[in-house]
Symmetry: C2
Subunit: 214 residues, 2 copies
């Protein structure tokens, strides 16, 4: 829609960034990547539809790039929430849970993009992975769990972290798909989840390691 001057020579990549900016912005409004059309993105960027293909092989590649951005935004939010409770790992874990659900609630389009699956039939299933930011973010969770347990980042901490994450994601996902579902209030639910799993982990650790309980 907007008038736009062509980029100077050597600066063609600027359009790539612009397209990503615009697409991310639009995604915040439509709440679903499938609702985000190539034409809507390019037109909002002030460019012809086919200009997108100078910077992305197809829409899928655009979406993948958007996913990375959304993941980074989520990571930022979680990091901030946990940093506020630095020194109190249990409290940090709860804060992360609230931040996670808040992000999913307030930015449903971005959140959904992270978990979006493009099931083209010619897909290489091993291709899909947790992007760099993703694994880093998850590692923060594992660290927090480990320090709650007062133990190194072993398999137990990892397993507990996966349970916390999947439960949070599950609640976010169910809330989106079935807004009517009568979830318990967020605070008590997260409290139950976090302390339940951490306590179980601590008990298991005591049994195997023989370390004293607090």
């Amino acid at each position: 829609m907007e008038a736009r001057a062509r980029n100077p020579r050597g600066e063609g990549d600027r359009l790539r960034t612009t397209l990503l900016d615009v697409a991310t912005e639009l995604l915040a409004e439509v709440h679903d990547v499938d609702q985000l059309s190539v034409r809507a993105v390019t037109s909002a960027a002030g460019v012809s539809p086919t200009a997108l293909y100078l910077h992305f092989a197809d829409k899928d590649e655009l979406v993948t790039a958007i996913k990375l951005r959304c993941f980074a935004a989520l990571k930022e939010r979680l990091d901030a929430a946990m940093a506020e409770r630095d020194g109190d790992p249990l409290s940090a874990l709860r804060a992360a849970g609230h931040a996670y659900l808040a992000f999913a609630r307030e930015q449903p389009g971005w959140y959904a993009a992270i978990f979006h699956t493009n099931f083209r039939k010619d897909v290489d299933p091993g291709e899909y992975r947790l992007g760099g930011d993703g694994m880093e973010t998850f590692a923060v969770l594992v660290t927090a769990v480990a320090s709650c347990l007062g133990r190194p980042e072993d398999e137990d901490a990892f397993a507990i972290a996966t349970i916390l994450w999947t439960a949070l994601h599950g609640r976010a996902s169910v809330t989106r798909a079935m807004p009517g579902f009568p979830f318990p209030d967020e605070r008590s639910w997260i409290e139950r989840l976090v302390s339940g799993m951490v306590d179980a982990g601590a008990a298991a650790g005591d049994r195997t390691a023989g370390s004293p309980a607090d």
Copy 2:
């Protein structure tokens, strides 16, 4: 594609069933409702594309009907798994967990359909709900949790059941979106989840009710 004789008078509704049958079957192959086109469904049913609109207002209504079927299939699977362990609620809970993940793994299209969100902008958000079968299925989970705790189906049992469900759904969803994620093996993961949450619930119950532990 197939040749097809028109239905006799008064039996027009048969096509509705046929379309649902065919669509459900195709969905098992394509793994994504968005990949399921009206034309593919109608052509597989041996009928013109527009015939679908004699029985469904739009594709959305078709998808909604499919969702109900998929939910019923999931419920059937869970019921069967839990029935096998009748009398041992903890074991039944674990079996349900395995059955749940197995369903999501073996019928990804059906499973995804259950949680599919049609985010048309003219949506009534309160409209989306856990269908009849859905709430029933969940109620079974609540019952199992309650009998693990040896207590009535109170808020605790409900809250624990939501955590179990969301964690299971979360794992299924993450596995689909990020097949590379290194989850702990299913058996130990479910064991940790179920016993962790149930133990926590039992401990909390003891504290509030003062009933003896077993």
